[in-house]
Symmetry: C2
Subunit: 143 residues, 2 copies
DNA sequence: AATATAAAAGACAAACATATCCTTTTTAAA
DNA sequence: TTTAAAAAGGATATGTTTGTCTTTTATATT
């Protein structure tokens, strides 16, 4: 599983994408309330997504967050990298700091191959597509 | 990446597999020293692998640990499950406790498919094969 | 300009994972 | 039967992640 922060981030951006045609902004309290997640915690996450340009944020009265074109076009992979960085996809799975193609750990090439597959899968679907999936049938849930 | 404990566990069982034809046991201090990992911490990990029947352990003078047939036939997947349980491969990637085939999160079916691939990959190679890989060329490293 | 609203930012706290230490138990060898 | 080696087990410490609270900054409205 992804970690908790990634899970919250993905749910939040999908939520914003679902509300993409709403006038005005979506407030932090609405997001936290709808997703049933701790408001301050999700606030930090949205803050860092905004810093990375993956969502829009506005201060002041009627402020809040909003999906942009970039949000809708972003993939699950993009969100993960924005939050955790690329390290999880590059460091040695056995924790060896010296491990690389020249001095590989015994599972190095397996791991490299598998990571390419995973990256491919995580990049296949955009946030907009996931929002649309959510909209197609009432069985889908975000909370 | 796997977590630190999994990394230590895999390196230790591969190390034991490399020493599979040694007479007698491999002591904890030898393992910790060779792999350059904290001795007490790796001790606990080996202890739990022994409890799960994945390696042999012997107390007393000349005691230590040893690879068994089960060790050599085990896969990376088996080691991970022995340490962390199956939860990482079954719980919702977005952290939703209700998520299942009937009430899926938007990425549920993607995740299920990808996990099958990952499980397949992690089950493809045995510890013995990884030890043999290590033995084939001096470029491979365990520490 | 003053006020109210809402996110940003930073400080703090709790929970969990990681790591170490110390004592006990087991057992082989002298 | 005594001794010493080595793992087992329990208790504790450290560090990192996760989560909360408070203050600051920005901005729309009056």
């Amino acid at each position: 599983m992804f970690n908790k922060t990634i899970g919250y981030a993905l749910r939040a951006v999908i939520y914003l994408a679902v509300k993409r045609n709403h006038d005005g902004n979506i407030s932090l309290s609405e997001i936290a309330g709808s997703l049933k997640v701790p408001i301050h915690y999700i606030g930090k996450i949205l803050q860092s997504l905004a810093k990375n340009g993956l969502i829009l944020s506005f201060k002041g009265p009627n402020g809040g967050f909003k999906a942009s074109e970039k949000t809708l076009e972003a993939t699950v992979f993009d969100i993960i990298v924005a939050i955790d960085g690329a390290a999880p996809f590059t460091v040695c799975s056995l924790g060896l700091s010296t491990c690389n193609n020249e001095q590989p750990c015994p599972i190095h090439f397996d791991v490299v191959r598998q990571r390419e597959e995973i990256k491919g899968n995580l990049s296949k679907r955009t946030i907009l597509q996931l929002a649309e999936t959510y909209e197609t049938a009432s069985i889908y849930t975000l909370s």
